[in-house]
C-alpha cells in the first residue's frame, strides 16, 4: 500500500503539486490522470526520491519513504518506468536489463528474471545484443518496463507507457500491464489515454493544476469515460 498524504512540491518559487492525497492499495491498479503540466511526473519523481517534497507524507506499507535516496526506494520495492522511456541508448538490451538489477546480488534470480522479461516481450530476446538506440519506440517502452522489473519491484510507477505508440502496440502494452498485475504487482499508472486507464484501473484520480480535481472507480471509468474526458479537456 502506497500512501500519499498532503503532498506539496515546489520547483524554486513555483508550487507545482498542492496538497495532494491518494493511496494505492496493494494489488490494485490506480490511474493518475491529467493534462500536460498537471504535475503527474512531478509526483512520480517525488515518490522515486528524485525530488524533495516541501511538505506532506509518503509511506510504502506503513514505512516513510520521504527524503530517501532513490537507491533506498528501489531497494524497498518501488520502481519507476519513466516518461519518455530513458533507456540507455548506447548500451545493448542485455546491458540495460543487467543494470536494472544493480540493487540485487542473487545471480541466479537475475538470470531467471531476464528470461522472464524475454518471455513477456519476446521481441527483446531477438534484439538482446542490439543497442537500445536501434529499437523502435514501442520496443524501447518494453525495455524500460523490463528494466524496472529487473529490480524485483513490489510496486511499479508507470509514467505514460502508451504515449507515442501505435494503437496496436498500445493494445500489446495494455495486455502486458494486465499480466504484470496478475503476477501480483501493484501499479500506479500515469496516463492521458482514457481508453488505457479505463481498461486497467480500479480507481482513477484526475489532477488539474497540481490538485486532485476528481476521483472515480474503475467501473464508472469504463462505463462513463466522458466525465473524465471533460476533466482532461478533450
Amino acid at each position: 500500500m502506497l500512501d500519499v498524504r498532503n503532498l506539496n512540491v515546489w520547483y524554486g518559487v513555483t508550487e507545482v503539486v498542492r496538497d495532494v492525497s491518494f493511496s494505492v492499495p496493494t494489488g490494485s491498479i490506480v490511474a493518475l490522470m491529467g493534462g500536460n503540466g498537471a504535475g503527474k511526473t512531478t509526483i512520480l519523481n517525488t515518490l522515486s526520491g528524485l525530488l524533495k517534497p516541501r511538505g506532506g507524507e509518503l509511506a510504502l506499507d506503513g514505512e516513510s519513504i520521504k527524503d530517501r535516496h532513490p537507491h533506498d526506494i528501489v531497494v524497498r520495492g518501488l520502481v519507476q518506468v519513466p516518461q519518455g522511456r530513458h533507456v540507455w541508448p548506447g548500451m545493448t538490451v542485455r546491458d540495460n536489463l543487467d543494470l536494472g538489477a544493480v540493487t540485487r546480488k542473487d545471480k541466479d534470480g537475475i538470470r531467471a528474471d531476464i528470461e522472464e522479461a524475454f518471455a513477456l516481450f519476446p521481441i527483446l530476446a531477438e534484439r538482446r545484443d542490439q543497442r537500445a538506440s536501434s529499437l523502435s519506440g514501442g520496443e524501447q517502452q518494453m525495455l524500460a518496463i523490463c528494466r524496472a522489473l529487473m529490480a524485483k519491484p513490489r510496486m511499479l510507477l508507470m509514467d505514460e507507457p502508451s504515449a507515442g505508440l501505435s494503437p496496436r502496440i498500445v493494445q500489446e502494452m495494455v495486455a502486458a500491464i494486465r499480466r504484470l498485475h496478475e503476477r501480483g504487482l501493484t501499479i500506479l499508472l500515469v496516463e492521458q489515454n482514457v481508453g488505457v486507464a479505463g481498461a486497467l484501473a480500479d480507481t482513477a484520480y484526475v489532477l488539474a493544476n497540481g490538485e486532485i480535481a476528481f476521483s472515480t472507480d474503475g467501473a464508472e471509468l469504463a462505463t462513463n469515460p466522458d466525465v473524465l474526458r471533460s476533466y482532461l479537456g478533450r
Binding site: H69, H71, I73, V74, V75, V79, H86, W88, P89, V102
Partner: protein
Amino acid sequence: MLPFLLTSGITTGALYAMVAIGLVLVYRSTGHINFSHGELFMLGGFFAYTFHVTVGLNYVVAMLLAVIGSFFVGVASDRIVYRPLIKAPGLSMVLATVGFSFLMKGIGRFFWGGKGEYLSIKPIVDPAPLWIAGIPILPQQLIVLAGALACMIMFTIFFRSTLAGKMMQATAENPRAAYLVGIKVEQVYTYTWGAGAAVAGAAAVLMAPLTLLSPDVGFTLLLKAFAATILGGLGSMVGAVVGGFIVGITEALAGGYIATSLQEVSSFIIIMVVLVFRPSGLFGVYGIRRA
C-alpha cells in the same frame, strides 16, 4: 631526422594519450570536461618527485604512492567541485573545474614552485638509448608507451565487461535513469573523478623522468589531451589513444620540418579543423554536447 622526430612524437603522443584517457573517463561518466585535469597530472608528478627524490623512497613505491595520492586529489575534487554542482547547469561546472585548476596550480607553486628551475627525476632505467633499426630509443620511452597501452586496454575492458564500468557509462548517458534503477550516482561520480586523477598521476609518474616538472605544465598538457580527445571522438577510449599519438606525432613533425613555433599551436589547429570538418571525431559515438 625523421626517425628522431617519430620516436619523440610517439613518446609525447603516448603521454597525451594517457592524459586523454583520464579526460574521457570523467567525460563518459559525468558528461563534463574536467578542465583541471592537467593540474592533476602536475600534482601527480610532484607527488612522485617528493616521495622519490625528497623522501628517498624506492621508485616503484613512490610511483604507487603518487598514483594513490592523485586518486585522493580526484576524490577531493569531486567533493569540492562536482558534488555541490551536481544539479547546476553545465557552464557552472566548466567554471568550477577551471577554478579548481587555479587552486591546484597555486598549491603546486606553493610547495614545489619558486625554486628558480624546473624539477626533474632521474630515469630509473638505464638512460642509455637502445638502438632499434638504427633509431635511438630511450627505455623510458618504451615504458611510457607500454603504460599508455596498458591503461587503454584496462579501461576498455572495464567499460565493456564489468558492471562497475557499465554503471559509469549508464550514469553518463542518462543520470536520471541511473538513479531510477538504484545506482548510487554520487558514488559513481566520486570513483570516476578519483580514477581519472589516478591515470593522470600514473602518466605523470611514467613521464617524469623524461621531462621537467613545473607547476604550470597542466594547462598546455590539457590542451594537447583535449585536442586528442576531440580528434579521437569525445568519449571514445580508443579514439583518445589514437588521437594522442596523432597529436604527438603531428606536433613533432610540424616542429621539426616547418617551424618550432608550430609545435605549440598545432593542437589548436587540430581542434579547429576537427570541429569544422568532423565534429564527431574519428571514433566518435557520442558527438559533442552542445550546451
